[in-house]
Amino acid sequence: MSENLRVKSSQYIDETTRVSFKFNGTTYYGFKGDTLASALLANNVHLVGRSFKYHRPRGIMTSGSEEPNAIVQINPNTNRTEPNVRATEVEIYEGMEASSQNCWPSVNFDIGGINNFLSPLLPAGFYYKTFMWPASFWEKYEYFIRHSAGLGKSPTSNDPDIYDHRNIHCDVLVVGAGISGILAAKNAAKNNYKTLLLDEKNELGGSTIYENNESNKIDNKISSEWLKKEIEELKNIKNLEIKTRTSVAAYHQYNYLLARENLTDHLEKKDKINKIRQRLLKIRAKRVILATGALERPMVFNNNDRPGIMLSSAIKKYSDFYGVACGRKIIFFTNNDSAYESALSLNDKGIKVEAVVDIRKQSETNLEKRVIDAGIKIYWEHTVVNTSGYKRLNNVSIMKLSNDGTSVTGNKISISCDCLGVAGGWTPAVHLYTQSGSKLAFDEDKKIFIPNKNNSDQISVGSCCGDFKLDEILKNLNEKLKDFLDINKTDFENITVKNDEEISKRNIWLLPSDKALGKTKPFVDYQNDATAKDIKLALREGFRSIEHVKRYTTTGMGTDQGKLGNMHALGIIADTAGVKMGELGTTTFRPPYTPLTFGTIVGRNVGKFFDIFRRTPMNDWHVEQKAEFENVGQWKRAWYYPIDGETMHQAVQRESKAARESSGILDASTLGKIDIQGSDASEFLNRVYTNAWSKLGIGKCRYGLMLNEDGMVYDDGVTTRLGENHYLMTTTTGGAANVLGKLEDYLQTEWPELDVYLTSVTDQFATASLCGPNSKKILKKIIPDLDLSDENFPHMSFKEAKIGSIVCRIMRISFTGEQSFEINVQASYGKALWEKCIEAGREFNITPYGTETMHLLRAEKGFIIVGQDTDGTMTPIDLQMDWIVSKKKYDFIGKRSLYRSDTMREDRKQLVGLLTDDPKVVLEEGAQIVSELNKNPVEMLGHVTSSYFSPNLNKSIALAVVRGGKDMMGKKLFIPMEDKTINVTVSNPVFFDQTNERLNA
């Protein structure tokens, strides 16, 4: 049963193209260019949702992004569904579906509506006060609260759309394409500034574009006609890029702004496919001109939230721009002149305006006379005291205001109507301005916050800086642009502007009713159902800071961020507490100005592009062998190589045995490699490692431990002396970049006198690590003329050799306790090297092993892994690695900290081995260790850091950090688990080949 409230053809929407769409299951028709809100209003649908807390019926309130009520779910139950969309912003297209949110089972019959009758029991802070006790019950309460509240449903399947990011650099960015923004952009571009003009609407021109008021004229033309000509001229201007349907979400410091460009949301489904839906513009502007306009305020009176109660300016826009009447009998309620302009504009289009209720004293102006001539009754010094109509406004009661505005007198007059336009004055949209770090000042005369101290190269122009009359807007704009753009004149310098003079203003933040405040419902924040009563309650309960009142009452915390109600909240607090509004300040306006979808934020960084990763040159081989991979830092490392459906445990046991019994091969390309050169290279290593480096011979390798200045282990690795002034340092895989950064830091800032140069060569070399008793035989097959005898090529030494014409650097070093050779070649030969090793090792059952086996083998030897057995609180002494800390060196990074009273405590956590009494039981890494089971509270001594079942020892082994563990050798400890307690014995952390015989066997 749809009705047609189209009044007059509009030039802004395409009335030749009819569009059908569904709202809450019913099919309606609108025109191309309609928003969902304008199309629904044209069908006389006002009721679009229920309020958040009391589930009161709510209607469309505004015509823009400040909408608090008409929040809908678009295309519900599809993979393109989107919650929390403002019906006042979204454009309709053929086949669009939308539904109300926050109501069940339907918007017309909502069970939660019972909360409205329970509302005396639901004051501010109700949830805080009620559900906090007992604390353990919160999880249960939360379940029900979330279900009955809920603002829309997020999609449950993958987003099928494409999103994009774009970086833009411009000389001048203009935000907002109303009359001020258009003139600013035009003059900037004409003066050779590369200019970008953005507007969130689909049409340029702001509110002036549909302004047909006979008394607002520029150069004797009606202002909308004059502006259309200006817009027409923009097309021919070079240096100017214009983007509509683009809203600025955030304005950061240094003129860095984020904007969302909406490309396909207004298109039919078939036209959306394979197109970029939204683009996030990352804009760095040399100068910014904010022309964000102003938002009209509602007024706070009893039952001011019924469907049919709207902003006066919104009613005007629906009529002038969309050709839609918001009702058949309309009343305006105002404290300023703008409602008169709306009333006249509607009257011109034949929409019945019953009356204007004005809280001000009578005055005789041209505007007033025209309204009376139109046959509209004006009630001076009256206020609305109540409204009625549950799902649609049907009546308004008004009474005369007392002189001080705090009470009402006389008889109650009742006027029937179906729409009430409220005009509470204009609030400059300073959200973006404050986001940039700029500071506001309160204008006591106009009762608004206006831009005051700019934090970057920017200006605010037009109504967002508090200029509301056309002549003052254009005059101030002219002066500001000349100064800001360093130009002598603008192209609108000599225009003549004519507009009405405004009569007085009267601001009453909370309007009185004939009922006591406690019996009324004057809403301040529509979306969060916060009333003036809630704010007063918060003040009574001792809240004073505006930020605290906001959080306690939830005023301004919805998806609309309180764009409509924040000023009223401040005004009521100021009046009640007896302070000045300017002293209260505002709450913080945080980005985004309007909500962003996650898709827009992440752009192309989805799926395999979600995170960057690095692969070794041998990666393809590992993939072919069906290796499982593990993430180590940014690297994808082969984790283990399962054969014939092996589990991870089975594969690792097999690989570990093979590496000790015959031979194994590990891809060690990911280890960080830093090339160190310069005449002070040895001295540099002396300063960064705990041990001594000066006497290391050329061609020899040495293990080093690097500390932080606080004495804690930071990284480790083997460094090889390639020449007199040339070293190659290896670092842990995950620590490479940080180690290089730290070394550069010391070189550049603390020791600039050292002649040392650092270069990362991690990516330049690929490394295959051959290990096991047969590794020497395999290497011999590959490089027959290299003397591999222990005399010529002993453990911890280096040789350069050639495989064919390929140079390789070979280090005989070991992280497994077996004889091992790390062969480094130029990265591009990595896979060839690897395949050659596999081929040569075939007769020795060479077994590729991954990081898990590497960890197991090193744990058998008690070698630490920085970051697994250490956590930034372990000194080398704690790790029982005193042997690597030079006593002779005067200084090295972290040395002094090893002698602090805290690092010298005997009862620090120290690294030990643990053996389970039952050798089959494998401990869990991270498990807590205690010495007494029945002590309360339980004293936790430490935790397990590494734990494996060792196939070579045929028993479970573990490393752990235990308080005072150094002196606990052989002591029995306990590991309480959920279902049992495991008995363990403290042991030497070296479990396998304690005398290192295998290295030279």
Partner: protein, 91 residues
């Protein structure tokens, strides 16, 4: 997101840089001569003031050079940038 004028590369976006804490805290030349308290003063104590702060920054994703910055932490205005080893300019 700041625009930082690297003294070696020129103006770059902040995402190329890494902040390195308070500037002009010299590592003691003879740490072993210091008492625990003196060493702790060097090791742990850093200013975190609202207002003019002297900081170290590193052009980590650029030339990798460290330099100094004077920044007003109350509004993030960069007052001056100067190389390591240089005296802070008067502001």
């Amino acid at each position: 997101m700041f625009v930082i004028n690297c003294p070696y590369c020129g103006e770059r976006d902040q995402q190329e840089f890494k902040a390195g804490g308070e500037a002009h805290i010299e590592r003691p030349k003879q740490p072993t001569e210091l008492s625990d308290d003196e060493w702790a003063e060097y090791l742990f104590m850093r200013k975190n003031i609202k207002g003019i702060q002297y900081e170290r920054w590193n052009h980590a994703h650029g030339c990798r050079k460290w330099f100094n910055m004077i920044r007003d932490t109350s509004n993030d205005e960069i007052k001056a940038i100067y190389k390591m080893g240089e005296k802070p300019p008067s502001i």
